[in-house]
Amino acid sequence: MRFRSKLAGGTAWIALAALTTAVAATAVPVGAAAQDNEAGRIEKLEQEVRQLRETVRQLKDEGDGEAADQTNEVTLSDLDSEVETTKKRVERLESIAQRVDEQVGSDAVVNAFDAVDLNLGGFLDLAATHVNGEDDSVTSFNRQVAELLVSADIAEDWRIFWAQSFLRKAGPNFTQNPAGADTANPDFGNLGGAATDTVLAWTNYKHTDALQVQAGRFITPHGIVNQEHFPATLLDATQPQFLRPFSGQTVFPNFTNGIQLHGSAFLGGGLDADQISYNLYTGNFTNNSTEFNVGGRVAYEVGGMGLTVGANATYGDRSDQRDADYVVVGGDIKYDSGPIIWKNEIFATDEDRGDNRLGAYTQPGYRLGEQWTAFYRFDYLDRGSDPDTLAARLESIEHSLGVNFQPHSNVRLRAILRNTTFDGPDDDAQTAELSATLSF
């Protein structure tokens, strides 16, 4: 491009040289006629000079334009920079490909037969417990629960969730079998071999966030701890008394085989908008498969405050042997803000047959930094009476004090001291429990 400028400049000089030569070669004759001729030649020369000047000017303009164009064209340094950027991107992509290759390896890859998304998870929950009764004490590695969780999105709005438990566990006898327990002589019963339990197996259709349908075996949607359910998230894997034994119906059935409508909606669009949620279900309790329970919960979360208030109600029949209808009403309040996590629940029953039941607890917790949480729980339970035999059941109060340590988000270690006081037999028992829940 610079060559064209040089050519233009050279051409101008050649033109001037030609002009000069032309002037020199042109002899000026003397005399009047000669003067006329001279005037004409001079005029002609002047015209040629003007043309040459115009040509030089045009050539100069073209040269300037080419110089200007050169500033908009890609230079070698621009290309170098582009190549460097591309090289870095390629290196990053190669690094990602290498990491994926390391994870996938050279073995066979697992595929889902038909699923938009398939997730596998689970947890291991272990405990060692010492119970000191009035007359005897006992120690055992009493809990080993391995639970596998599978979640499959079979279409955009359809999900299957399945929780299969492989468990080998036994709680203290006054928890597992309060009707026949000798509270002065605690025992864990026979751990036996491993048992499998389909804890949950439901399918969920989401029409919108506010309208969803869930069917199968699901957690009965009452309260706080029953819905949170999984040990990995609980400060105390030994749930409040009214939820023991696991899969029982001390106050309401912990699990329901049936169908429920549920959903939630935000009231407003701001950062502190409140949220309302609901559950409405019907189904059977596992040990009472011909009688239907109907119930629900409405909860209101105050936006920006970490406060959730719930109201619960259910109607059912406790026995398939005789009429033993019951109604449960209950409330729950959870406050979770900053370092404080405080859960409260109360449930009362009206029994057609036998004594009414009442269960309540309050559990304040305090987060001591990112890894430690301390908690206390006051827990009261009046178990009423057996609906079939009408035999009175234990009434008990528990005080629990514990700490949780999470060295990693998937590891929860606990140390808990518990004092259980029974009314009826005037006994009490002290429990020390070390437990660990590891999840993935």
Partner: protein, 156 residues
Amino acid sequence: MARTRAAGLSVVVAVALVAGGLAATPAAAAEYVLLVNTGNDHPSGEEGRAMVQRLFLKRASQWPDGTKAFPLDRPAANDAHKAFVENVLGTSESKLQSWWTKLKQERGATAPRAVGAPSLLKQAVGMRDGAFGFAKRSEVAPVPDNIRVLFTFDGS
């Protein structure tokens, strides 16, 4: 000579004062951007921020126009992730992990996928309606035509 020395000292003092002032000035907070796909009409301002918070935590699953949300995260060690957790979600990393554990086990839901490379993040947001992610502004400039900045937020 004395006037020259005085002038020289004045210059030294002035330089020292300026240097001290510069040292005392805190570094400007890094600017992060929340990127959305331009395929939908998303609210901006506080409403947009609230919606991003709900959708990322999976407390809601759709944008106001009904588009299914597709949130994207960054690796936990990434500065953008830390700034997002603190300044947009308004929580801590440990509470966030507890939330995902709870969601995983109660609903079978998982945390948003973490995307490492900013170039891949731009591609992922650009190719899906309802997708959103976040990054340092300098990592994703210039922003391509198929994505836009919904809002900005500061770092720690």
